[in-house]
Amino acid sequence: MCLGIPGEVTELLDRPDLAKVNVNGVRRAINIGLLEGENVQPGDWILIHVGFALSKIDEDEAAAALAFLEGVGQSYKDELDALAASSIE
């Protein structure tokens, strides 16, 4: 729940606050409403908390965040499983 997970925006969706995001191979809709005015585009990396993007990051930071998460182990796996089961709309 506290983990910030990096994902790459792959597609903007019909609603302005939703984007399709690739998180570790899982593609899910993520709410980008908190990044209003940041002009989120496909190819951008974002840090996601419980289905919401909280910040735009660069690719290096995404890699650093992933390295941290892989070290976290089980709770990162649990979070990814939960994300895979998620159906945000």
Partner: protein
């Protein structure tokens, strides 16, 4: 799973370690609190304490939102969850946390409809799919998750949903830090500021720590090198006689925070006069409740909750652990009566709780760091 022997950038860590050591003044000890549970996790996982001179110690703070929920609050949530017309939804982290009468998992096993969700937006979906049920989201977390809950309430209102509400247990980090600074048994030389919370609130709210309490604070990232670099920045400040708020985690944390996130929290929620924190007791203005304008989405107002108060188990010393007065392994029940499988205290439940982090990793670090640095 990686352990310390696979530590990335061990050389850089050694270099920072040497720089920190060089800044130590003879005869002086340094105690720094890492406020965030994510930092605690990194510190134990990578055995970072072994990279620090013996005169520099890290104290683990209250920054694990699962760990600070008082048992009575969970009993209130279970009271709501056990109603026939309710579907309770919760982050997975909360499911095993013991209340006075068991956990969400225990209640679910007895027949309550309690579902794990990844996001409050998943709760909203469940509400849409179950119009004959009242769907409640167990809202927990610091400022990292509060904007998501607020956004979800705004969405529910926009969609005209009438069967969705939140049981609001959001807490705010600044009053907890204040409580620790005011605690008579606490002596600290500085703080590692929480990374993700600061993404939302920015760095300014910490300025009182430097100004009124003359302690430096550095907002830190979550990589082992981030934490060592932040400790180095704290040491430099002390050496130069400065007390300032600095941002080591500029890659993610903007100085002003996320204004949109702050705005939606403020739209939907307001400060409670006081809130009980596990181990820390009642702290003024330390938690959020739903504003009157959104009362239709406030489970506390919809359901007549009993407002249960439960004293923490006597054997459990989570309070002292959360305040950094004792280390996890100094608790009387650590690793014996209290383990991650059968937790007594919340610090053992959440993987970011200091006790669970130490239980899972800390026991190995000292030997492993020696192995790694010998190689």
């Amino acid at each position: 799973m990686r352990f310390v022997d696979e530590f990335r950038d061990a050389e850089k860590a050694q270099a920072l370690s040497a720089q920190i050591t060089a800044l130590c003044e003879p005869g002086r000890t340094y105690r720094f609190m890492e406020v965030c549970g994510g930092h605690t996790h990194t510190i134990y996982k990578h055995g970072l304490e072994d990279y620090l001179p013996e005169t520099v110690s890290l104290v683990h703070g209250p920054g694990c939102p699962v760990c600070v929920i008082p048992m009575g609050r969970l009993d209130d949530a279970i009271y709501i969850a056990e109603r026939d017309d309710v579907i309770m939804t919760s982050f997975g982290d909360m499911m095993r946390v013991p209340g006075g009468k068991g956990s969400f998992f225990d209640s679910k096993a007895k027949g309550a409809d309690i579902r794990m969700v990844y996001s409050p937006l998943d709760s909203l979906k469940i509400a849409k799919d179950n119009p004959d049920k009242r769907v409640v989201f167990m809202a927990i977390g610091f400022e990292t998750t509060a904007p998501s809950t607020a956004m979800t309430v705004l969405r529910a209102k926009a969609d005209g949903l009438q069967n969705f509400s939140i049981f609001c247990n959001h807490v705010t980090i600044i009053p907890a830090i204040k409580a620790i600074l005011d605690s008579p048994d606490m002596r600290l030389d500085g703080f590692l500021g929480p990374g993700h919370v600061s993404t939302v609130i920015g760095c300014k709210p910490y300025e009182f720590i430097a100004r009124d309490h003359q302690k430096p604070l550095v907002c830190a990232g979550f990589e082992p090198l981030d934490i060592l670099a932040s400790i180095y920045q704290l040491m430099v400040q002390l050496k130069e006689g400065r007390c300032e708020v600095e941002n080591q985690y500029t890659r993610v944390v903007p100085w002003d925070g996320n204004l949109k996130a702050l705005q939606v929290i403020n739209e939907v929620m307001e400060l409670r006069p006081y809130f009980e924190w596990r181990g820390l007791g009642f702290i003024s203005h330390s938690a959020l409740k739903v504003r009157e304008a959104y009362a239709a989405f406030d489970a506390e107002q919809i359901f007549n909750i009993p407002g249960i108060r439960v004293a923490d188990p006597k054997a459990c010393q989570c309070g002292e652990v959360l305040k950094g007065v004792i280390k996890p392994w100094e608790c009387k029940v650590f690793g014996t009566a209290c383990t991650p499988e059968t937790p007594i205290g919340t610090c053992m439940v959440s993987p970011e709780g200091a006790c669970a982090a130490y239980y899972n990793f800390g026991r190995f670090t000292r030997e492993r760091v020696k192995e790694a640095t010998r190689a």
